[in-house]
Amino acid sequence: MQKKLILDANLLDITISRLCQQLIENHGTFAYSVILGLQPRGIYLAEIIQQRLFELCRKKVPMGYLDISFYRDDFRRREIGKVSELRIPFSLENKRVILIDDVLFTGRTVRAALDAMLAFGRPAKVELLVLIDRRYNRDLPIAPDYVGKTVNTVASQKVLVELKAQGSSQNKIWLINNP
């Protein structure tokens, strides 16, 4: 198994700062904005971004967790995963939603997330923020609005996100070659 470092702790920190600056540029005071972290791994990034935005503009943007297990289009076609908590303590009606996940791959998770979101109202606008965009792997016409880093990968490779918030010893992102 070969591992290649894509982002180290320092670069990751700079990347997250840049993503937050871009969000501030587009959302201003975040008056109607909410953050939705995708379960299971997007929520850690969502929490980091919420915290960083608070440090930058003293505004706590409301955050929810979205679990898409029941909205997948491949249920019964593969083994079922663990169902995580779905917690959205506010209505999405007329809100500007920032959907956050760590890695964008085929786009199927995002499709299911868009489907799941509709149960909570009709948002005014939905944007997608991802830390890693795996280019050339999309199955669906889905594109992110904010990207931490774009990497060229093939389907057999994997992106490993290690965050301290997830219990790892360091903040690092790796590209793994499976033989």
Partner: protein, 308 residues
């Protein structure tokens, strides 16, 4: 990844404590979903479920039907009273005919104990037991245990007493299995004629005095007097039963602690449970009904995932 150990839900007896925990964790998520503005998820979009009821039912049947609809499954309903069973068709023939129309899961209620077990050995679809005679009623026991967990925070170490017609109650047997597996202490209470002879072999105690049983317990699950299953007279009169084993609000208020009251329904008001007690703050009867849908959604979802 977590999965049920069984391809069918025939009874609590075959489940492990881990299975029950998995069903509860999944039901937590479904409980969130059924409290959303849009209560429907597309998870079982490509699954067809047959609800085959050879015995009358309102609550269980509506609960299953709602659970299936909220998971977006396709449903066919079948009740024995309006079908070819009346013309002498066998159980296996009836169900095989339904399955020939490409049905993935069968929810069955039958008056004969073991009918779903028999069926599960002969067909490919997943079978969910919705009550088989006086044997088991697994989804009821799951939702009862889930409601206790929700009300008291845990099940382990809690004291639960089942009161009333234990002899004819499938709810009692399934409850005993479920609660024992989850680490609760269980007693049964009722007139000796309505207690099965070897009930102690299940590892539970018997208490004949209602007041002592209530003083001991944290939760009292009160069972219905099943007059339709009683071919003999097990007690002199309903009035006498109500006098010795009926629960009312003044009895509950005279206890030295506050206990939780449950009933699987339908209630014989004024017999095993009086109206003032059934509608009091002690009662979580309507929570049980709400949780029933979430529990059945979890069971359907996990069994459907198992077929993958």
């Amino acid at each position: 990844m977590p999965q049920l150990s069984q391809p069918h839900l025939l009874g609590i007896k075959n489940l492990t404590a881990r299975d029950i925990e998995l069903i509860f964790e999944t039901a937590d998520n479904f409980k969130n979903i059924i409290n959303q503005p849009i209560k429907k998820v597309p998870a079982l979009r490509d699954v067809t479920v047959a609800n085959v009821f050879f015995e009358n039912s309102t609550r269980t049947r509506i609960s299953f039907e709602l659970a299936e609809k909220r998971l977006s499954a396709d449903i066919v309903n079948f009740s024995a009273s309006s079908s070819s069973v009346k013309k002498g068709e066998t159980l296996l023939d009836t169900v095989n005919n339904i399955l020939a129309m490409k049905v993935d899961m069968v929810v069955m209620r039958h008056a004969s104990p073991g009918a779903p077990h028999f069926l599960s050995r002969h067909i490919k679809a997943s079978v969910i037991n919705a009550g088989d005679g006086t044997h088991e009623h697994p989804t009821q026991a799951l939702l009862d245990a889930y409601s206790i967990r929700e009300k008291l925070g845990a099940i382990e170490g809690k004291k639960v007493v089942l009161i009333g017609d234990i002899l004819h109650s499938r709810v009692a047997l399934s409850n005993i299995f479920a609660l024992k597996k989850l680490g609760a202490e269980v007693k049964v209470c009722g007139p000796p004629t309505l207690l099965p002879r070897h009930i102690r072999n299940l590892g539970i105690d018997v208490e004949l005095n209602l007041r002592k049983a209530l003083e001991w317990c944290d939760v009292a699950n009160i069972l219905r007097i099943q007059l339709e299953r009683q071919q003999l007279r097990y007690f002199p009169s309903l009035r006498e039963y109500a006098l010795y084993y009926g629960i009312n609000l003044s009895l509950l208020n005279s206890l030295n602690k506050k206990i939780t009251i449950m009933h699987p329904g339908p209630i014989n008001r004024g017999v095993e449970l009086s109206s003032d007690a059934a509608d009091s703050a002690h009662s979580i009867i309507l929570d049980q009904v709400e949780n029933g849908v979430a529990i059945r959604m979890a069971v359907l979802y996990l069994l459907a995932g198992k077929q993958a």
